[in-house]
């Protein structure tokens, strides 16, 4: 039986879908069977980031409604056979989800895969609630920026009250990814430090991802950035994926940039 991880953020546009695609692939690269499911009904995007948009035949709503089986709807990744993907419905809206249907789907996937990663819609409405409802753990993605952090705190609050695990007297494990860190700005005091963010949100850190133009380049091509050996964000996702698979990987301090030192030295010779 696998583990179900909901990837949430509260605010949109912080890199949630990118995180899901890269962690899914990263976990698969560690030899684990992984299913990634897009729960962002009506705003399907994970298919694009994974480069699988042309292969979608059935979506998760059709599976829930019994119009297709999981086997029929699941799409295999082109780059790693351990990674499978289930698309969100593009035509319907979030109201089609019900706890019962979500439970059945999540349970079936959990029985088949080692990791089931759910891409939550932004916001804290019903679509979000259904994504977290049957999750064993949640990964919260934030940017080092006030609105993202505040919205994340609201999402965590709802996670702590609405998750089935909590209702059953348990606890959902929560881990934070700080995405789009600009080392130079942290150094100059213009961007929140990760310790400050952890202080405010009071949760555990699973990884820091630096700002990296390669992420857009990767999404243009539909090849998750983790495949790009030279990308610093890709390397960060590799480390986080390994951690998710139980490996001990030291937290690389990406907030101290080599580049700022280089710039200073270069400045001397100008």
């Amino acid at each position: 039986m696998g583990i179900v991880i909901a990837v949430i953020s509260g605010k949109g546009g912080v890199g949630k879908t990118t995180a899901v695609a890269n962690l899914g692939l990263g976990v698969a690269m560690n030899g684990k069977k992984c299913a990634v499911v897009d729960f962002d009904i009506g705003q399907r995007n994970l298919d694009m980031i994974l480069g699988l948009e042309n292969r979608v035949v059935y979506d998760m709503v059709q599976v829930m409604d019994g119009e297709a089986t999981v086997k029929q709807a699941i799409i295999k990744s082109k780059v790693n056979e351990n990674l499978h993907f289930l698309a969100a419905s593009q035509s319907k809206d979030k109201s089609v989800l019900s706890s019962q249907k979500v439970y059945k789907l999540v349970k079936e996937l959990k029985d088949t895969y080692d990791y089931v990663i759910l891409d939550s819609p932004a916001g804290i409405e019903s679509g979000f609630e259904h994504t977290i409802e049957f999750a064993d753990a949640a990964i919260i993605v934030v940017n080092p920026e006030v609105s993202s952090i505040r919205d994340a705190d609201r999402a965590i609050g709802i996670l702590d009250s609405k998750s089935q695990k909590v209702k059953d007297g348990g606890e959902v494990a929560k881990y934070l990814i700080i995405n789009r860190i600009v080392a130079d700005m942290v150094q100059s005091g213009e961007m929140l430090k990760s310790e400050d963010i952890l202080d405010i949100l009071d949760i555990k850190l699973v990884g820091k991802v630096p700002e990296d133009n390669g992420v857009i380049d990767a999404s243009n091509q539909g090849k998750p950035v983790i495949l790009d050996k030279h990308s610093i964000a890709g390397q960060a996702y590799k480390r986080i994926s390994a951690r998710l698979c139980g490996k001990k990987v030291d937290m690389k301090d990406i907030e101290v940039s080599d580049s700022s030192l280089f710039k200073k030295i270069a400045g001397i010779f100008k």
Partner: protein, 79 residues
């Protein structure tokens, strides 16, 4: 160069503002679970001496301090 020392860094401003905003977001009714009881007891005490129409409790947060103000509305017809 000297501005560098004078100006408070924006990241620390962000931290302060966030801490307060999130505290109040989390707060609402949860911080004071005894609020309803407190209200009732105040009404009971004041009622012993004078008519009471209602009690309103307001919470205010500004920077480091937090204040609760309690308004007791008296019932003039029932003095």
């Amino acid at each position: 160069m000297f501005d560098f020392w004078k100006k408070k860094k924006s990241a620390s401003v962000a931290k302060d503002r966030l801490s307060i905003a999130i505290m109040s977001d989390r707060g609402g009714r949860d911080i004071y679970p005894f609020m309803d009881e407190l209200k009732q007891e105040i009404v009971d005490v004041v009622k012993k001496y004078i008519g009471v129409r209602g009690v309103e409790i307001k919470k205010e947060i500004d920077g480091d301090w937090e204040a609760i103000s309690i308004d007791v509305f008296l019932d003039r017809n029932n003095v």
